[in-house]
């Protein structure tokens, strides 16, 4: 399992991997927002956390269809599916984790820079980083289900995003509300943050099992 994690990370970070592309997409999405709504720094500071979250959500969805596609192309997916059930679920879990480490974690690290561009305060940037750190794994885990469902399709990329976005809406809602609660005074920060953590843990348990079932179903 550790070897699989290292292998997936190595593939993702070498040339042609999705890791850099995700961060660049994140930068591009956030950078076009000021052009769309005008360079009003106060307004940007107010909507900054939401923009960063939406950008991170879209960037995480971007590389999802590659999660199993590369393994399918070189045939190793069949080997993975042939394992017994528990190992398959664990394999999917590790692959989702590797996907998050390669695409989700760089987004968290890139958030302060973008927070600077959006004229956000240090507290707001910290809150966004913290919520992204807790929330983006959920996107990877639930995204594994979409990637597994669409793995047999030749052009499943867009379909994965369409299938996963409705399920990712709760992550966005509680991530953004926790990030805002940290800045605006009367709102408590912990309840939405706790719900966000609960969603991540729930999806970490549900996603690999469902994805493994979909992979098994698609192969036989």
């Amino acid at each position: 399992m550790i070897a699989l994690l290292k292998r997936d990370l190595a593939i993702a970070t070498r040339s042609g991997g999705a890791a850099m592309l995700g961060v660049l997409f994140f930068l591009a999405v956030v950078a076009v927002i000021p052009f769309g709504i005008g360079p009003d720094l106060n307004l940007l500071a107010r909507i900054g956390p939401a923009i960063l979250w939406i950008g991170a959500l879209l960037a995480s969805l971007l590389g999802l269809d590659r999660l199993f596609q590369a393994d399918r192309e070189d045939g190793s997916l069949d080997m993975l599916v042939m394992q017994d059930w528990v190992s398959l679920v664990l394999t999917v879990f590790v692959k989702s984790l590797a996907h998050w480490l390669a695409t989700g974690l760089p987004l968290v690290l890139a958030a302060p820079l973008l927070g600077l561009l959006m004229n956000m305060s240090a507290t707001a940037t910290g809150a966004v980083m913290l919520t992204l750190l807790v929330g983006t794994p959920a996107i990877s885990f639930i995204g594994a289900v979409g990637a597994a469902v669409a793995v047999v399709l030749p052009r499943g990329g867009l379909l994965v995003s369409i299938l996963i976005l409705p399920l990712a809406i709760p992550i966005l809602i509680f991530g953004v509300s926790a990030a805002y609660a940290a800045v605006t005074d009367p709102d408590p920060f912990w309840p939405p943050f706790m719900i966000l953590s609960a969603i991540t843990l729930f999806f970490a348990a549900l996603g690999p099992v469902a994805a493994a079932a979909a992979l098994k179903g698609a192969s036989d």
Binding site: I142, V149, A150, L163, I169, A213, A214, K216, A218
Partner: protein
């Protein structure tokens, strides 16, 4: 009947659907008649119901809106049960049931969103608000469309069955969220008034038309669903026959 079908080679796999076709063919006329009758009675009762002292005529939208929303959730539940049938027992009809319920459920969801929006304009002063109930129903609508896109994208219905079933079950989380969204969060949408532990809080003059309409909607759903399932079975048979004909030509 079943003896002859079993002895016919590739036909064995369709043995069960054949019995289903015969049975549903017998039931369907009665079901359709009952659906039309209850819809007529329900519509009449809806228009005979007294006007609300605050809402006036617009209260009648409720008789269309509420059963549509119930059916939108029931249809997804039917799909979830059918998905369990696909994954656990590999029942050949379960996949057909789950697939054909999709457009019907999407239509009911759209109807409830549309009528709710029409009602919200004079009552709330807005077409749409992003409150918990509306958002979760909108998410349900998106999931219906996403699953339909998934079925469209797969050429082979047998391969699409199990991945789609998994996704349907994962999306089922949304149904309890829709049901309890008006109680968990403070929303603009009114809380449940019919299905409550302490009995309905809605006045009988409005409750009875609503219940008749709910029965009518349910009958309509099952009528349409059975018809769609029959069509889907026949469509798959035609596909199989075409494939076999093509193979026969290729072989010769």
């Amino acid at each position: 009947m079943s003896d002859t079908t079993i002895s016919q080679g590739w036909f064995t796999s369709l043995a069960n659907p054949t019995r289903f076709l015969a049975l549903s063919g017998r039931v369907l006329p009665y079901l359709a008649t009952a659906a039309v009758l209850s819809l007529v009675v329900g519509l009449y009762m809806s228009f005979a119901a007294p006007e609300d002292y605050q809402q006036g005529m617009t209260v009648r939208i409720m008789f269309i809106h509420v059963p549509a929303a119930w059916l939108a959730m029931m249809c997804y539940s039917v799909m979830a049960i059918a998905s369990i049938g696909t994954l656990v027992w590999r029942h050949p009809l379960a996949d057909v049931a789950a697939k054909t319920a999709l457009p019907i459920g999407a239509a009911f969801t759209f109807l409830s969103l549309l009528t709710g929006s029409l009602w919200g304009r004079p009552m709330w002063g807005t077409w749409w608000v992003w409150d918990a109930r509306l958002t979760s129903v909108f998410v349900l609508f998106l999931m219906y469309l996403g699953l339909m896109a998934l079925h469209k994208a797969m050429d082979d219905p047998a391969r699409a069955a199990r991945p789609a079933a998994v996704l349907t079950l994962v999306g089922f989380i949304n149904i309890p969220i829709i049901k309890f969204s008006v109680e968990w969060w403070n929303t603009l949408h009114q809380p449940a008034s019919v299905i409550r532990l302490d009995g309905p809080t809605i006045h009988p003059t409005m409750l009875y038309p609503l219940l008749v309409m709910a029965v009518a909607y349910t009958l309509i759903f099952f009528t349409l669903h059975l018809m769609a399932m029959r069509n889907e079975i026949l469509r798959r048979r035609v596909q199989t026959m075409r494939r076999q004909a093509a193979q026969a030509i290729g072989g010769a």
